[in-house]
Symmetry: D2
Subunit: 118 residues, 4 copies
């Protein structure tokens, strides 16, 4: 199984190019589309308890809906980064590097406090 995000980005780019959709895919439009997909994801879990989410993930139909919403978020996020010529995975690793400094284990262990407050 291939988990390379650049391969997904290239595939999504090709998908859009063949449909001449580049004209719709400005960064702002894609942010709005991303918001729409995150909204659908939120709607999947809005009335569920944490236990009910766990249960939903064990049933084929509800699991598949959640997978689908996560997929849509990733697709638009990948497309957005690609249209901005940003290397998404590299940016994420750079951010985790920074978080390693912001949240030293000794101070951050077991607390959900923002780095500006620890």
């Amino acid at each position: 199984m291939d988990h390379d995000l650049e391969h997904l980005a290239a595939r999504v780019r090709d998908f859009a190019d063949r449909r001449d959709w580049g004209q719709f895919h400005s960064p702002r439009n894609l942010v709005l589309a991303l918001v729409g997909e995150v909204g659908e994801l939120a709607a999947e879990v809005q009335w569920l308890t944490d236990d009910e989410v766990v249960a939903a993930l064990t049933k084929a139909e509800s699991r598949s809906r959640i997978e689908d919403e996560l997929a849509d978020v990733l697709i638009y996020l990948t497309r957005l980064a690609d249209q901005c010529d940003i290397d998404l995975v590299a940016a994420a690793h750079a951010k985790v590097n920074r978080n390693e400094e912001r949240y030293p284990e000794s101070k951050a262990k077991g607390v959900a406090t923002k780095y500006t407050d620890i």
Copy 2:
């Protein structure tokens, strides 16, 4: 450069484990955190024209802020999928497969109409 999303997921998991943050990372909490990051991304472009976004991407400081927001979205999305034991990239490819059927090039070319309406 490594663009494998499973490697990022493993790194984020390790980061959280060493801080004992699994207790905070229920799917619902992570959806809310994702919403927070998407909100910061939206705030970056809320008052800009499309041309101003392009210009912002050419300046180191504003480009770096946008990279950072995209990174945060990807980190939480990756963590959310990991906590749900969902293969995010596989789910995205499966969705693109479906979109290939929903949006045949002949009908979808140059139009932003939803598949339910074409």
Copy 3:
């Protein structure tokens, strides 16, 4: 026409009470529901130019869809504030008071800069 938001809040509360929905309406659940509705609103305008939004507002069908999404956002926002026992309109006026100080006309005129940067 009655534009009192407390009357709307009371009506929505009664609507929920008669259906025994208070059990679902925790603040966190309502934030997620609000996110879902904001996502639907974003989806309405995601592929449109500013001019096309103006045009959409002149056509009965698309105008009605936008009205509907705005209504859903207000309904959940009102319900959320009510469940938190927060006076939403008073809070908004208090915030505008603060913004009057943060954004003096002489400095804020014609610029979209955040108060922390002016």
Copy 4:
């Protein structure tokens, strides 16, 4: 105390006019701004349990932050509706009217099922 939303809308319009901010307040820009504020609201409750939200609402500082975020959401929502020339409260009452039909008490009582599924 005045809870009339049209009065708030008029005040926000005047606030924006005096700063010449109408140029920034296209519907799409305001949707993005709304998303930013909803993101801040989500961030307030992302790591809290339902009980911790209730506790946060009893402490002056955290209550005030939540009031502030709700206020920001209402301010942008009001401004957005005003720029679209939409009567927000009337639209909400019309939607509740529709929901009365979609969710008859006999069928909706105690269940969080969407009207399309009941």
